[in-house]
């Protein structure tokens, strides 16, 4: 059994995954900032610290009220908000030294892909990771994920969250924007920026928020923002897919919960004869299960860290992590 601890941003999660890659428990608590305000790192970390104890206890307890001793402890070492990362790392170190079990550092983004590949059954896909922290198109070459395309400025999750914050819509922004978008129908012209396999969203954010300030129709702005932002990414995915010729397309991360985005990228995959593997909604957002899933795979590949070296890495690129367990069996 591998215990995974997630605490990179707004969510504290703990989860047990067994040696057959089955998710046994998955308990999470998410900090929600007030409407119109972003995540304050200290406030988020205070929330994480306050729920950590109960979440870990619940994740470790079985149906008959006894407690499981995990064989491996995995924690999200980065990337993320420093104050938040340190909460999960502290819990991980404490459990590891108390239970005398190995400690495994996990890359949060790699973990998003690992759990998506486990559940959506992808072997060696073109991976699209869309969240508040990442907007990347990746392929696995050699031992690592290689970035084929990515955002040159803010992420897709950032774009939707920051727009929602300006529009006084509740968090998570992606969900709020998509609810409003369902009521819109008029396409407003917004900047569409695809540079090769990369996208850039900051111009789109500025244009959308200034349309808001000019008192444009909120539903139409949300509709146009979503259509434009997703189409940009879908186009970058299509280019990458044609170039890499992968036969599977995986979509993972918090924004993968969006049905419109899945519809678009699914259509790209189908058009080019690739199978489509979207992560199920319940595992798209940050959760303990992704860390447990990735931690188990890393441990089986021999990755562990001593307590004294178990640092957190707030800025940590996906293509700097060895991921020898892909292609998956």
């Amino acid at each position: 059994m591998c215990l995974g601890i997630e605490s990179t941003a707004h969510t504290f999660g703990a989860s047990l995954v067994d040696s057959q890659d089955r998710i046994v428990t998955n308990v999470n608590s998410t900090y929600r900032p007030p409407v119109g305000v972003g995540i304050h790192p200290r406030k988020a970390s205070e929330h994480l610290a306050s729920v950590a104890d109960e979440i870990v206890r619940t994740a470790l307890s079985t149906k008959d009220d006894s407690s499981v001793d995990p064989d491996v402890i995995a924690y999200a070492a980065g990337p993320g908000l420093g104050p938040c990362l340190r909460i999960g790392a502290t819990v991980g170190r404490a459990l590891s030294s108390f239970l005398k079990k190995p400690l495994v550092p996990v890359h949060h983004g790699v973990a998003h892909l690992d759990i998506a590949m486990s559940i959506a059954k992808a072997r060696d896909p073109l991976a699209v990771l869309v969240s508040g922290g990442h907007t990347s198109i990746l392929v696995h070459v050699g031992k690592r994920w290689r970035v084929y395309g990515e955002t040159q400025d803010i992420t897709l999750g950032n774009l939707l969250d920051m727009f929602a914050r300006d529009a006084k819509l509740p968090s998570p922004g992606g969900l709020s924007v998509s609810k409003e978008a369902a009521k819109g129908e008029n396409m407003i012209k917004l900047p569409y920026t695809v540079k090769g396999n990369d996208v850039a969203y900051s111009g789109l954010l500025t244009a959308a928020t200034s349309a808001l300030r000019r008192r444009g129709n909120l539903a139409d702005i949300c509709f146009s923002l979503q259509e434009t932002a997703f189409a940009m990414l879908a186009e970058a995915v299509e280019r990458s897919l044609v170039q890499t010729r992968r036969s599977e397309v995986l979509v993972a991360g918090g924004v993968a919960a969006s049905s419109r985005l899945k519809e678009m990228i699914g259509s790209v995959a189908e058009d080019h004869g690739a199978s489509f593997h979207p992560v199920p909604v319940e595992y798209s957002g940050d959760c303990g299960a992704q860390i447990a899933c990735s931690g188990r795979l890393a441990y089986e590949s021999g990755v562990t860290v001593s307590t004294s070296d178990s640092l957190v890495i707030p800025r940590w690129r996906m293509d700097e992590v060895d991921v020898p367990w892909i292609p998956r069996n």
Partner: protein
């Protein structure tokens, strides 16, 4: 011109356009037709295809005039979002690079760099420069194709994106030593564009790579 009634045979399916072969007068031509994307909102889709068709044709023509090795424009079909251009004989660099010896590959990259240098000097950036968009003629001369994402720009930022993309496609698609390949490329680039432009473009390319999120600053 109207390309819809031309007898043509499919040649290649790209990300945004279908290529087919046809004959117009004495020319063997490639018809590049931008196809409707089901995933895109219809009005957004129409706008993008229309704008890119016109911009691509005029930029290819301009590049040709500047002396860069590119296809020649034979005609534009605005109604069907299609361009007719001369067909090029040769192999896609993506295909032939991995079969080459290291010295031959370096020579090709240097020659590719020279073409990019000419293009940039003419005030054009390609916007989607990968080894899939370079066709190597039987005599070994590289031609640059697919100007669908290209723009007129003399900004070091935009020029940097071109080299950044080429470098990334070298790293991601080929198992050759990417840094030695890129060194050869930049020497050719410098020869065509001059030392000053070469330094600023290459500096930007490295900056763009670093700008990706979570890239550790070393």
């Amino acid at each position: 011109m109207d390309t819809s009634k031309l007898a043509s045979t499919p040649l290649h399916r790209g990300a945004e356009a279908d290529l087919s072969l046809a004959t117009i007068g004495p020319w063997k031509v490639v018809i590049k037709r931008r196809v409707k994307k089901e995933y895109r909102n219809p009005s957004l889709d129409k706008q993008i295809r229309h704008d890119r068709t016109i911009s691509e044709a005029s930029i290819i023509h301009e590049a040709k005039t500047s002396g860069t090795r590119v296809p020649s424009i034979v005609g534009i079909d605005v109604e069907n979002d299609a361009i007719a251009m001369t067909h090029l004989d040769g192999t896609v660099a993506r295909e032939c690079l991995d079969e080459m010896g290291i010295n031959e590959a370096r020579k090709l990259l240097r020659s590719i760099g020279e073409q990019i240098g000419l293009l940039h000097t003419a005030g054009i950036v390609h916007g989607d420069l990968t080894t899939s968009n370079v066709i190597v003629s039987p005599s070994g001369a590289p031609f640059i194709v697919d100007f669908g994402m290209s723009r007129r720009s003399i900004e070091p930022e935009d020029r940097g994106v071109d080299l950044h993309l080429l470098q990334r496609s070298m790293v991601a698609s080929h198992n050759k030593d990417a840094s030695s390949m890129m060194n050869a490329m930049i020497r050719g680039y410098e020869q065509a564009a001059g030392k000053k432009v070469a330094n600023s473009t290459w500096g930007k390319a490295r900056e763009i790579a670093r700008r990706g999120r979570y890239f550790a600053i070393r």
